[in-house]
Point group: C2
Chain length 389, copies 2
C-alpha cells in the first residue's frame, strides 16, 4: 500500500563539469554576509577554495569562515560556529565539502537564531525550529550522504557518546542550491570513495527493506541499486572514470532526498547501529555501516523474506529456478557481500577499532526504531554487534 | 555520459486519501482572488467541486470560474480565460481536473499579464515569460500527463492545425502545490484510465530511448516502467484497486517531472506524431500515442539497437540466450505490443478517425525534433503514419 505522504524538495541543483559558475546566479539572491564552511583544508590543496573565494569576492560578499569541520561534526564545533555566524550576522551559510560539512551547515542554519541549546532542542527532543532559518548553499566535494538535497543533519556528542540525526520537516532547511561537479570528487582517496558508495547503497537499503507490496518507491530503488552496482564496479578499478563518478554522484542525491521512502515506513537500523559505532570510534561513516550490515540483514531476513527474495532477483539477478525462497534470499545477500568485498569495504567492527569491551556501550548508544521488519530488542542488538566483530 | 544539467522542482505534493484537506494549508499563502478552472463538469457529479468550493469559502476566497476546459485546450479558450482572470485580478489559479486543465492553467499563468499574443510568444516563438506569473495550484482528478509537477503546457490551435507543447524553463511556472488523491481517479472510465497509463508509459519511453550508456536516469526509468507494468495489469482488471491506482498516479508524476531526462537528449517524436494527430482528430491524447508507437519504434530500432536490447531484457524480461541482438530487441517490442493490446489501447489511427487523405496534413503538422536515435525526414514520417493507419 502506498501510504499518504507529502513531498517537497525545492533545492536547485547545478550538475556537471564547471557547475561552480552557477554560484554567480545564486549569490545575488542573498545578503552580503556569507559564512564559508569547510573541513580539514583539502579544498585549499585542490584549488576549490580559491575558486569559491574568487566568486564570492566578485559578487561583493563579506566572508567569514568556519574551517575544520570534522567527519562526524560535533556539538562543540556547532557551538563554536554559532558564535562566528552570530557575530558575522550571516545571510547565507555556504558549505563546501562532503556530507558532514553540509550536515553541519544545516545544524547551524537552525541554531544561529535559536534560543536555548540546539543539541537538546533538535537532537534530543527532535523539535522543529521556531526561529528564522539561515539559508544554506552547498558545493559538494564528496559523495554519499545525500545531504545536498535533504533536510537531514547528523551531529555527534562525544560527552554523551551519542551520534544523532534529525531529518527536519521544513523544506526551508534543505540547501537552497547545491553545486554538484563530479570532477571535484575525482581526487578523493579510494577508501573514502568506496565508503561513500556503501553509504549510498545503505541509504537505498534502509528505505527498501520494509513492506512487501509493489510500491513504486521500491521499483525506483531497484533502479538506483542497479545503477550504483554498475558504476561502482567501474569506478572501483578506474577511479578517474567521469561517467561512472557522475552517475554515482547523481544516484547518491536520489538515494536520500526522501523520494524512495515515500509511502513507506523505515527504521534505519543499520544507520542506528553504525552511528553508535561512530560515536565510539569516530570511524568513517560508510565503513561503520558496511561492518554491521551483513550481520543485521541475515538477522532480519526471516522477517522480510519476500522482500529479500525480490532483492535477490531484481537487484542481483539471482535465478529462482529450483530454489526455496530462503535459498534465493540468501544468495542475494551472498552476492551483496561479495560485491562489498570486491570494493574493499571494511567488513567487521574489529578493523574499525571496536573491542569486545565496547559492545555493551555501543548497544546502549543504539537508538531502536520502528517501521522495519523487526523491532530489535537489546539482546538482538548485542548479538548483531558481536557477530560483526 | 551524464551531461550537464540543472534540476529544480519545488512543487509541494500532497498525496493520498483525503489529501484535499491540505488546501487549507496552502490557500492562506495567496491573495483572496482565486480563479477555479475545470473541465466538462464531471467534478460537479462526483462531489469534488462542492468539496473544493467549501474549502475555498471557508478560507474567505473570492472565486471566479473558468469551466469547460476541453481535453485538448485551445488557444481560443485561453483568450477567454485571460479575460476572466484579468477582470477578477487573479491571485491564484486553481486547476481541478486532469492534465489538460492543469496545462491550461499554466498557459493562463504566463498569459494573464502578458503583453501581446501568448500563442505567438510562447507556442510559436517558444519565448519565456518576462511578465509576472500568476501562481497555479492543482487538484488532480485524472492521471497521465505529469502536468501536476512540471512546467509544461500543451495548447491546440485549430485554425492553424497545430498542437504545441512548451516546457517553460522557470520553475515558478510549475504548480506551487498539487493535491494527488488516487480516490479521485477511481471514477474514470476504463478508456480514459488506459489512455492515461499509455501516456505515462510513452513519457518514460520518450526519455529512455536516447543514448546507449549506463545513465542513472535510464535505471530509474526502468524502475518506473516495471512499476507501471505491474500496476497497470492489476488496474486493467480491477479498476477499484487503490494500491494499483495510487502507484500509477505516483509513477505518472515521476515519469514527467524532468527527473528521468536529466543528463540526456530527447526528441519526443511519438508525442510530435501524436500531437499532430490530435490537432486533426481531437482524439484522446494517450490513444494518439498508442496508435503511432509500434510503427515508430520498429522504424527507429536499427538506430538504437543496444538500447532496445536493454529495454527487452530489463523491462520485459526477455531472455537473451541464443538470440541475436535484433531478435532480443524485436521480442521486447512484441512484448510491449501484447501488453498494449491487453490493456485495450487503440492500436491504429483508423480507429481514431484518421483517413488516408489526412496523412500529408498530419505529416505537415508534425514537428521534427533532434536528440533521439534518428532525425526523421518527411518520407519517414509519412511512412510511419501510413503504417499506423
Amino acid at each position: 500500500m502506498l501510504g499518504n505522504f507529502t513531498y517537497c524538495n525545492p533545492t536547485k541543483l547545478y550538475f556537471g563539469k564547471g557547475a561552480i559558475k552557477y554560484l554567480n546566479d545564486e549569490l545575488p539572491k542573498y545578503g552580503k554576509k556569507v559564512v564559508l564552511i569547510y573541513g580539514g583544508g583539502s579544498i585549499k590543496k585542490n584549488g576549490i577554495y580559491d575558486e569559491v573565494i574568487d566568486i564570492l569576492k566578485s559578487n561583493g560578499k563579506d566572508v567569514a569562515e568556519i574551517s575544520g569541520v570534522m567527519p562526524n561534526p560535533t556539538v562543540v564545533k556547532l557551538y563554536e560556529g554559532m558564535d562566528i555566524a552570530r557575530r558575522h550576522g550571516a545571510d547565507l551559510l555556504l558549505a563546501v565539502g562532503g556530507g558532514s560539512v553540509c550536515d553541519y551547515a544545516k545544524a547551524l542554519a537552525v541554531s544561529v537564531h535559536c534560543e536555548g541549546d540546539p543539541w537538546e532542542k533538535y537532537y534530543i527532543r527532535f523539535e522543529e525550529p521556531v526561529c528564522p532559518v539561515v539559508p544554506v548553499g552547498c558545493v559538494l566535494t564528496m559523495v554519499g550522504t545525500g545531504s545536498e538535497m535533504n533536510a537531514g543533519s547528523v551531529i555527534t556528542n562525544h560527552a554523551q557518546k551519542l551520534k544523532i540525526g534529525h531529518v527536519f520537516a521544513d523544506e526551508s532547511i534543505m540547501p537552497r542550491f547545491s553545486v554538484l561537479d563530479p570532477v571535484y570528487t575525482l581526487t578523493l582517496p579510494h577508501y573514502q570513495m568506496v565508503a561513500g558508495i556503501y553509504d549510498i547503497f545503505s541509504h537505498i537499503c534502509e528505505q527498501y527493506f520494509s513492506g512487501e507490496d509493489d510500491n513504486t518507491s521500491d521499483y525506483i530503488s531497484e533502479g538506483l541499486f542497479r545503477s550504483l552496482l554498475t558504476s561502482s564496479r567501474i569506478a572501483n578499478t578506474d577511479m578517474q572514470n567521469y561517467e561512472a563518478r557522475s552517475n554515482i554522484m547523481w544516484t547518491a542525491t536520489w538515494a536520500l532526498n526522501t523520494l524512495v521512502s515515500r509511502g513507506k515506513t523505515t527504521d534505519w537500523m543499520v544507520h542506528m547501529l553504525g552511528q553508535a559505532v561512530g560515536a565510539y570510534t569516530d570511524a568513517t561513516h560508510g565503513m561503520t555501516l558496511a561492518a554491521v550490515s551483513m550481520a543485521y540483514y541475515r538477522h532480519i531476513l526471516p522477517y522480510g523474506l519476500k522482500k529479500f527474495v525480490r532483492f535477490a532477483q531484481n537487484v542481483w539477478g539471482v535465478s529462482p529456478e529450483g530454489k526455496s525462497d530462503e535459498q534465493i534470499a540468501c544468495e542475494g545477500l551472498a552476492a551483496m557481500e561479495s560485491w562489498m568485498k570486491e570494493l574493499g569495504l571494511v567488513m567487521n567492527l574489529t578493523d574499525l577499532g571496536v573491542t569486545a569491551d565496547m559492545v555493551e556501550g555501543i548497544a546502549d548508544s543504539t537508538l531502536v526504531m520502528q517501521g522495519g521488519y523487526k523491532v530489535l530488542d537489546r539482546a538482538e542488538i548485542v548479538e548483531i554487534i558481536k557477530a560483526s566483530l
